[in-house]
Symmetry: C2
Subunit: 364 residues, 2 copies
């Protein structure tokens, strides 16, 4: 490791459905892209990783390997996963906790990564609940940040308000927006529409320092009307899964159409690049993974089916988050905006590692 | 009106953004399609309707006009809308209540139609809360029935369980499925995933007589894995609005792509019929409106921007619902499946007209 390394990123290369080689390829592409600014530590079966690295024609100076004997299976319960002390997730997060690295990326068992992150790193002071954060494509030039998409099935209003602040900070980092527009997902724009949880969150957010534009509807997520769309983890996860199912549905319909006649077939061939791009539009793996905002360290969760490109993107995003000191910024913003029971003042007295978030099936 | 009329359908021709002529065209197409089986009553400004009808070259024996002086504006609060005693909605629903008609269809102010329906017709015995019911396209051959998509922002578990029963009956009528598969929308298939509301509804539905297949995820709505997807009106409305925004987003992306080069332009021209069909796929107005299940009469709410075809479809669906005696079937099924506080036994003692549902912005 040379002295000009800006940030060290740990990549869990095990446990993805797409296989070690594909994940490693993504890591190496990121190492190439970020150059000497980054150091990437691959965590997993050392021998297997070495075998794949030895096949490369290139000599990477900015990568290293950390052995981990075990792999948390994709469908293992999070509570069992966290007990595997020698898993690639546990070993990787330990490096973060020991300040030997700045960010951890895993395409493995989402529930286990979430629970392990919280237990190992704890929460940022002021955060009651970490939230999984996704990027949705829009018809505008930039995507929309949506959170929580699955970490917390049952939320209180101050959780949602905190998500809004964390999402605002994240959007300012990744979308490079100075004062991101934050909307609260509800069933109507007026005060009288929505449920009790939303009413309370809305009141809190109106008093906050973030650029809260008010309630938005489901349609505003893809329109690019806001930079950040905030919701509870139940609603958010359902929207995410629904959105992920659009692509396979369209592909099936395109395939059926192509079979109907020759003109359609020629048309489809000419439009192939477009259709591919459209598939990508709804491919959330393309967007660089889903950060778990609120834990006291940069953790990015990727789809179990991530390809190399998705992993590269996730590393670049994680690097950017480290560069922009996102943890400190979330902390500072939450101190500025006090929400409900667990603001900066009293959270220190709580054990920041005691609450295990509900495992979410974002990766299966 | 001849004696062989099977069902009389009332069509509110006022209050739609698309205009009286377009709505009337839909009504006349339905009159043509259903022939002497149907009698359609157009409710609205008599003179205006007569003027448009007089321009037709055809003489319709199965339509008539009922005058209504007032129109509830699209964005008026539901509570104000219900007070307009001479509105097309009030006059139309009165015909239903007086047993002069079997079904009411309106492309007007959704909140006002909901509230007026409930006040005028009351609830079916056994129903705690009516639900708005939508059809979602799937990659399978048949659409998925989704409810509630906006009538009830805050639900209790027995409301959701009742929605499941009503959705099951509706699917058996419109999808012609003997034993429709019903799924409960949650964030994971296992018992341990989901929120408290869902846990309780799941327990109730397991004991029900309907074909409850368990929890489903957001992705299962478009996949055709179930015939009926049940959720609370908050989540359902957000999914509906999100789904409705897919089409405009795709159209924008197609337009941008077409401008890029000549091959794309030729490809797009050849694929035009497909692209049109794809637009229709995500055009929920095509599916025949959204019935308000649970009120003691057949009420179908259409988009304010409905075209003639959407209105024709809605009339055909409403006719089918009358033909299959859906009100009696919902009543009977709810008696068989007792859920929570408000089952068939005690609902009679309640005033079935006292609860005004929360207005939902499905039409703006």
């Amino acid at each position: 490791m040379t002295t000009d390394v800006k940030h060290t990123v740990v990549l869990d290369v095990m446990g993805a459905d797409s296989g070690i080689a594909e994940i490693l390829k993504g890591g190496l592409d990121a190492a190439r892209k970020l150059g000497s600014d980054v150091h990437i530590i691959f965590v997993g079966h050392k021998q297997e990783i070495e075998n794949i690295l030895s096949e490369q024609n290139e000599n990477f100076k900015n990568v290293s390997i950390e052995n981990a004997d075990d792999v948390i299976p994709m469908h293992m319960a999070a509570t069992d996963g966290v007990r595997m002390r020698n898993s690639s997730v546990a070993v990787g997060l330990k490096l973060l906790n020991q300040k030997k690295a700045d960010a951890f990326i895993s395409p493995g068992n989402t529930g286990a990564v979430m629970a392990s992150s919280l237990l190992t790193l704890g929460r940022i002071e002021g955060v009651s609940r970490p939230a999984i954060t996704a990027m949705f494509p829009t018809s505008a030039s930039k995507p929309t940040v949506v959170l929580d998409v699955g970490a917390n099935a049952d939320c209180k209003s101050h959780h949602i308000s905190q998500f809004a602040v964390m999402g605002s900070v994240y959007a300012s980092v990744v979308l490079k927006k100075e004062f991101p527009r934050v909307g609260l997902i509800s069933i109507g724009e007026e005060r009288s529409k929505g449920n009790e949880l939303i009413f309370r969150a809305q009141e809190q957010l109106k008093k906050s320092q973030i650029n809260f534009i008010g309630n938005i509807e489901g349609r505003d997520i893809l329109s690019g009307a806001v930079d950040v769309a905030v919701t509870d983890g139940f609603t958010g996860n359902i929207i995410l899964k629904f959105a992920e199912s659009i692509k396979p549905m369209l592909v099936k319909k395109v395939q059926r159409q192509i079979q109907t006649n020759m003109f359609s077939r020629i048309g489809a061939m000419l439009l192939l690049p477009f259709l591919k791009r459209m598939r990508k539009t709804f491919d959330y793996a393309e967007s660089g993974g889903a950060p778990l905002l609120g834990v006291n360290g940069i953790v990015v969760i990727c789809h179990g089916s991530s390809n190399a490109k998705a992993i590269t993107n996730a590393i670049v995003v994680a690097f950017e988050m480290a560069e922009k000191k996102i943890i400190k910024r979330i902390h500072d913003e939450l101190i500025t905006n006090h929400f409900g029971q667990n603001n900066g003042a009293n959270s220190k007295s709580e054990n920041n590692r005691d609450r295990v978030v509900c495992p979410s099936p974002t990766d299966d």
